[in-house]
Symmetry: C2
Subunit: 307 residues, 2 copies
């Protein structure tokens, strides 16, 4: 799914993300499971009307009529009807598995119900040995770079292997979004590798691997805190001489509660928009949260299509 | 150390904190260990000149002259000279232990060097059985309440007993700062008590104890995320009906990395000032960080004096 339309360099804003999404020469085919809630329907209608993506909608029989009605008003929308919500979820996953869809998106269905078929070993979307994780893209007014961070949604307490996968997925995503050499900050409250804090040992290994080129073109630094990662002044005061400090593009958090705290804090206190997507799966899966910013669904969909 | 001058109700801002500090009828006696760095000297001079506190300065012999010179320019400053930095730290702790000082403050000395005598079992400031923790006060422009949170500095992974102590200390601090019934949010990425996440079990116990009055006048709610704690809109969408949601005065984080992430994120991205102080000790101990906001030392000192 490398995208040849990305010639704009590093993403600068969500407006930039949307502009690139609209400009994609090969339209992505998005499978939406149960587009029965108003916010999901609105995003599908907008993107279909603008022609920025094609849609395959799966829906339970009970709501088939209203979804067919939506589809009739725009070109590039197909509707697939299942008996019930679980059937619509399985159908959606299978459409992606069979290559008929490029992206899977959650509509008016419980996240657990959608994840069950996604994780199914026979017909699901997670290859054996891959790590399911969640990456979030945000832009905070006080910082020039867009920030990609993980994991605010899936892995409560990642182990070293899972942290490695997070670095791999985020670096890959940055490359696809036009950043040739992302700067990745491994977040911790301490700045030293210390056996007392096991995450810092995993960080040490990851940094060595990154220096050997395991993750492709990128610079990985840490452990460092969020402020040091984004504020060169703070890094200078602390005497931290890392090419990542003050310039991070990616934040890897060692534990979900910390990533979630970052997510919720910049979302509420800085009014920062968010785009989120599951990775590790063969196709990006979009699982917006109810309490997100208004534009979050559209931004998440655009991000998923550009990956 | 209950303070009878607090009649202004809940703190509204750092300006309010400083106004109350200056208006204290009984001046606090602040022991400063090694006021040899410029930022510490500036705070001592300002408070001494304004008469908002009295000072006992301990210093290593090498820098005694410059500290004596500082003291000579203001009333209400005493100087105590020790052989070396470790001696100055021990002397400072003993002055507080003997009741000659009400607050201990770190100057140009390494935090570890100051904490060693603070934690000394014979002449230190931590009674047996008490939990040493760190509380931080901040004000983020987007939220009307000042927020007191813990622990961004001392306990990497608190157990249930340590979380209890954090609730006790923060509620106590809120009372002393004029908030008759603080709303305490127990932070987690989940909203349900779940044996899979051990912190939520501790939270469950703490909420039951709070309802029984164990922590005095307060309302404790959770688990909830930072946004739910501070944004009633987010709480409504999620259907969370807690008197704490959207109105928190206190945030208890389950793990240091999350509290540190909150601290660094609002500090850098929201330019939020911070005041921090150690609790569990018989007297508040002020340990400013080098990378803090300019006013952080003064705010921390004011907070310590008001506790």
């Amino acid at each position: 799914m490398m995208n040849s339309t990305l010639s704009g360099g590093k993403l600068s804003s969500f407006d930039d993300l949307i502009a690139r999404f609209k400009a994609m020469t090969t339209k992505r085919r998005v499978v939406v499971v149960c587009p029965t809630d108003e916010p999901t329907r609105a995003v599908v209608e907008q993107c279909a009307a603008e022609g920025s993506a094609e849609f395959l909608l799966t829906v339970e029989a009970e709501h088939a009529d209203s979804v067919r009605e939506l589809a009739s008003r725009h070109p590039g929308i197909e509707v697939f009807v299942a008996d019930d919500i679980d059937g619509a979820a399985t159908l959606g996953v299978k459409l992606v598995r069979e290559g008929r869809g490029d992206v899977l998106m959650k509509g008016g269905i419980n996240t657990d119900k959608l994840l069950r078929p996604v994780l199914n070993k026979e017909y699901g979307l997670l290859p054996q040995g891959e790590v399911l994780t969640h990456i979030t893209l945000t832009k905070v007014p006080a910082y020039p770079n867009m920030l990609l961070f993980t994991d605010a949604a899936v892995i409560p307490a990642p182990n070293a292997e899972q942290l490695r996968a997070m670095v791999r997925y985020t670096v890959e995503a940055e490359h696809r979004l036009g950043n040739p050499c992302p700067r990745v900050a491994l977040i911790h409250f301490t700045e030293k590798i210390n056996p007392k804090f096991e995450y810092t040992l995993a960080y040490d290994e990851i940094m060595k691997e990154a220096a050997e080129g395991v993750y492709g073109e990128c610079v990985v630094g840490g452990p460092m805190d969020v402020k040091t990662a984004c504020d060169h002044h703070s890094a200078e005061i602390k005497g931290i001489d890392s090419p990542v400090a003050g310039k991070a593009d990616v934040l890897i958090f060692p534990i979900l509660t910390a990533a979630n705290t970052f997510y919720k804090t910049v979302s509420f206190f800085c009014d920062a928009p968010m785009a989120g997507v599951l990775r590790g799966t063969t196709a990006p899966v979009v699982i917006p949260s109810r309490a997100d910013h208004d534009n979050s669904k559209l931004y998440s969909l655009a991000l998923a299509c550009l990956l």
